[in-house]
Every structure is written in structure tokens, then in C-alpha cells.
């Protein structure tokens, strides 16, 4: 790795700087990949050894029944050859190898789902195996819930800052609301809303709003309270109204806090939507993951997980980009 770094740093070209920035990230990714491939050997050892035994190989560690009681780590150590040979190619591995996940991801986004038999080109629409289709559903509910939740969070924070009764009463309830495990609450919200005829988008949006309002309340209360005594005194010398103080002083000072809390909120909104999709098999990445676990399709679960991670990265990046634009428009020192 050190030799690679030197070789990369040696040529004094314009690209060298960017490479130097990417290199640490790349090294971490490679290290994680290595750990992942190694972990797949014991994780998938049982299946690999059974398959090798059926094919006629001599397996140490006793009969199949005896092996069931022994540690997978020990079995892999006793039979390194067959364990490694069968670790990364199984159809339903306990831990799929990275290349299997990537292959599934490619197939269910572009490979099969655009150019394949049931793909976009042939059928004119995404199939229900398309991760793009499921990601679209999840993204819609996430954005809906995120917008509702953040708006609610900002409103509550404004209320808390301006009203002493709200200051004392809202925050404890907001904190209590977050101590209820969302996996317990989400099915209830889905069932209750479905029983009054509201399904699909709304229950998921409500769950993700429920998770995303909290970081915004906490962040924005702090943000609205950043103006110091001198700033507020200055406003008082001009006999400014509370509304003027709010819009001209509190709101602009809270902008950095707003974006910090929005980044947390959008990630929470995504989690909320996925949890909300678990009990209802009507599309979305959550539904896709649960379907994968019903049928033992671990590769499918991991591909959906990868999609969810990419979606989260995209959302957080988008908020970061918006933040940079807003701060630049506000004349912040570059």
C-alpha cells in the first residue's frame, strides 16, 4: 500500500492532488472489502462443506449432523480448501461476497431491468424487481415525510423560542416521542391509518416525519437562540417587534444549525420510510428487503441495502450542496 501511495504521489501532475484526496478513501474501501471476503469464508463454510461432501470430497470435523454443533470458524480452519473454494459463489450464501452484491445490484438496476427480458426497453415500465422502481417509491415517501417533519420541527422550535409555556411543555414530549422504538410504533401507524382508508404514501410519510422532526426541533431551538444579548439589545434600541427580531436576526443566524439538523433529519426520514414499508408489501426498499428475507435471498437484501445507502448519501449530499449555495448567497466568508 505504501509503495502504491508513493507511486501515485510521484508524478507532479495536476491529477496528483485529487488522487491524494481519493487515496485514503480508496484504502479504507479496499480494507473493508478484504475483511468482507475473509468473513464470508467462515460465514458460508457449512453450506460450502456440505456441497463439497456431496460432490465426493473428504471433509474433516465429523458427519454432517456432528458438524452442525461445531463452530463455523473451526470447520473452516479444518477444511480450508473446500471452505474457500465454495465461499464466494453460492446462490444463497449467508454472507454474500461484494462482487455478488454488485452483480445483483447491476442486474436489478440496469442489466436486467433496463435491457433484460422484463426490462424497461422490452416492457415499457420497471418490473417489481427493479431497485430503481423500489427506490423511487421509498424516495417519494422519504421526501414527503422529511418536508412535513422539518416544517413541523421549525414551527415547534419557533414556538418554543417565543412562548414560555411551549418552552416548558413541548420539549419533554418531543424527547418521549423519540424513546418509543419506531419498529414497535410503525406497524400501529400503518394499521390505524389503513383502517381509516389511508394507505400507501401517507403512513410512511407520517412515520418518517415522526423521526425527522426531532433533530430539527433540537437544532433550530439552539439556532434561534444563537443571537447574543448584544444582538438582541441592539434590536431593542431600535424598538424592533418580535416578528422583526425573528425574521431579521433569529432566522438568518440559525441557518448553519438548520442545515446540520436537516442532514440528520433526512437520514432519519429514510430509515422511517423503510421501517414503514416492512409491514406492507406494496413496494419500496423496505418491502424488497423483507421479501428477500422471506425467501432467503440474501444477495437481494444486500443489493437493496446498498441502494438505501446510496439513496441516503445522495440525499445528504443534496442538502450539503443546497447549504453551500445558501451560505454563499448569504455572503459567508469562503
Amino acid at each position: 500500500m505504501a509503495a502504491l501511495a508513493e507511486a501515485a504521489a510521484a508524478p507532479p501532475r495536476a491529477g496528483a492532488g485529487r488522487l491524494r484526496a481519493v487515496l485514503p478513501v480508496l484504502s479504507v474501501v479496499l480494507a473493508l472489502m478484504a475483511v468482507w471476503y475473509l468473513a464470508a469464508i467462515p460465514m458460508n463454510a457449512r453450506e460450502a462443506l456440505t456441497a463439497a461432501e456431496r460432490a465426493g470430497a473428504e471433509i474433516r470435523g465429523g458427519s454432517a449432523a456432528e458438524r452442525a454443533g461445531r463452530s463455523a470458524l473451526v470447520l473452516a480452519a479444518l477444511n480450508p480448501g473446500p471452505a474457500v473454494a465454495g465461499a464466494w459463489t453460492q446462490e444463497r450464501p449467508r454472507l454474500p461476497a461484494p462482487h455478488q452484491v454488485l452483480a445483483e445490484f447491476w442486474a436489478s438496476t440496469v442489466g436486467e431491468e433496463v435491457w433484460g427480458r422484463r426490462g424497461l426497453v422490452q416492457s415499457g415500465s420497471f418490473s417489481n424487481r427493479s431497485l430503481i422502481y423500489h427506490a423511487g417509491i421509498t424516495l417519494g415517501a422519504t421526501l414527503g415525510g422529511f418536508l412535513i417533519g422539518s416544517a413541523l420541527g421549525v414551527l415547534l422550535a419557533a414556538g418554543i423560542v417565543h412562548n414560555r409555556a411551549m418552552d416548558l411543555s413541548v420539549m419533554p414530549w418531543a424527547i418521549v416521542s423519540q424513546t418509543i422504538p419506531i419498529v414497535a410504533l410503525a406497524p400501529m401507524i400503518v394499521v390505524v391509518m389503513n383502517s381509516v382508508g389511508v394507505g400507501g404514501f401517507w403512513p410512511k410519510a407520517v412515520i418518517s416525519a415522526y423521526l425527522s422532526f426531532f433533530p430539527v426541533v433540537v437544532g433550530m431551538v439552539k439556532g434561534f437562540r444563537t443571537p447574543d444579548r448584544e444582538g438582541l439589545d441592539l434590536m431593542r434600541t431600535w424598538n424592533a417587534t418580535r416578528a422583526q427580531v425573528f425574521w431579521r436576526l433569529r432566522v438568518p443566524s440559525s441557518v448553519p444549525y438548520l442545515f446540520a439538523s436537516l442532514k440528520i433529519a433526512v437520514a432519519a426520514a429514510l430509515v422511517g420510510t423503510i421501517v414503514g414499508e416492512l409491514p406492507v408489501q406494496r413496494g419500496g426498499l423496505g418491502a424488497r428487503m423483507l421479501a428477500g428475507s422471506y425467501y432467503g435471498q440474501t444477495v437481494q437484501i444486500w443489493a437493496a441495502l446498498l441502494m438505501a445507502a446510496l439513496l441516503a448519501a445522495l440525499l445528504v449530499w443534496a442538502i450539503g450542496a443546497l447549504e453551500r449555495r445558501v451560505l454563499r448567497a448569504m455572503g459567508t466568508r469562503p
Binding site: 448584544e230 444582538g231 439589545d233 441592539l234 434590536m235 431593542r236 434600541t237 431600535w238 424598538n239 424592533a240 422583526q244 431579521r248 436576526l249 438568518p252 441557518v255 448569504m330 455572503g331 459567508t332 466568508r333
Partner: protein, 269 residues
Amino acid sequence: MADHAARMPRAAAPVIAAEGLDLVYRTADGPVHALRDVTLTVNRGEFVSFIGPSGCGKTTFLRCVAALETPTGGRLSVNGMSPDEARRARAYGYVFQAAGLYPWRTIEGNVRLPLEIMGYPRAEARERVARVLDLVELGGFARKYPWQLSGGMQQRASIARALAFDADILLMDEPFGALDEIVRDRLNEELLRLWDRTGKTTLFVTHSIPEAVYLSTRIVVMSPRPGRITDVIESPLPRERPLEIRESPDFLAVAHRVREGLRAGHGDL
């Protein structure tokens, strides 16, 4: 002559009249006397400096005038009204030690802020901003953001902001306290010119003896625990004051008396 006669009584009426002013803070360690029995009148067009060690109540007195603090005893009137009525009537501009410019507004935007709050029409606001920025010699920096300006320039912008809405009283709380000596000298000179041109009644808190003597028509020496006035010195210096005046015997005599007053205040402890 009629004009003159009409102006005379107004000029004679005190702008600020404090009589037996007391301010006691209740703290966990017992009451703290921030001001005790402060009696002072300030007439129109005066430049009065308040000097004393920290805790002597000079800032507190200024904050009482601005209705940012409420005295617990005595009488205080500003422009013939209660301080709070005067605040509502936007009778004064206040300059804090920190320039306190909003980083998200340009210099122009910062100076326009009080005008926006007071509901000035757009065109008039623009005209006033341009005028006061010229007055503090920041005409060329209207579109800059505060971080692009030096500390001295930021403080000048904050003075422009206090002047923008034509209050006839200027309250300044150690406005140059955080600046270095060289910048401070220049700003003192500019402030004196500004005061001469605008004729605003100015109350100026400082802990620098030369600054107080150089700027003021009257110097109020205060001492702490309890905060009170120990001496009031009329300056014999002429209105026209080049920086070199600070080496004149008159100047040194006043500075000496201020120093004596400060020492006497400490002697009481």
C-alpha cells in the same frame, strides 16, 4: 432673530436629566449596588465621557438611559420623556463595543437594517445609507461584507448604523475599546469631526484617559462599589482639537485631574 430666540430655550433644556439614580441588582451573594445616587444633567450638543474602572457603573448608566436597564430608584428623563418612551420614539443610536454587524448583510445592508425596522421608504433609506456611509468615509465599501473589512472599519460602519435614523442622542459604550492605539487615534479624530458636523448629544463610555480628555466637553469620573460619580470636569479645551492638543498644558492638566479623580475613587476602598 426669531429663529435664534426659538432655539435658545430648547438648547437650554437638558437632554438627559438623572436625579438620585439608584440601581441595585439582587444576586445570590446579596444586593449589588451598580449605581448609587447618580445625579447628572446633559445639555443638547454636549460630548460627555464616562470614565472609571470596571464595575463603576458607567456602562450601566448608559444602559439606563437607553432603557436597557431599569433603575430601582431616582428619576431619569431623556428628551423630557421616560427612557422607555424615548427608546420607543427612537431618540438615540447605540454603539456597542463589538461592532455587531450581521455577517450575512453587506455594510450597506447593515446600515439599512434600523431603517427597515423603522419602516423608512426604500428611496429615502437608500439616500440615508449613502449619506452616513460617506460621513464615516466608507462610501466605497457599501457592497462589502463585514469580514472583508478591518476592525476599525467595522466599528465605523456600526457608528454609521447608529447615525442612519437621525436620532439626536448618540450613546457609545467603549466603541474603540477593542482597537489598537493607532486606529483608535484616527477614529477619535473622525468622531470629533462627526460630532462637530452633526451636533449630536454624545455620551461616551471609555477606560482611556487620553481618549476621554481629547473628545469631551465634560468628563464624568466614576468609581465602583457602589457605582457613583466622584468628579465632573468641564474641559477648557477649544472645540477645534488637532491631535497635537494632547501635548498642550491644558490637556495635561485635565488628564491629571481625571487621574486624581480615579485615584481618589480607589482610595475609598
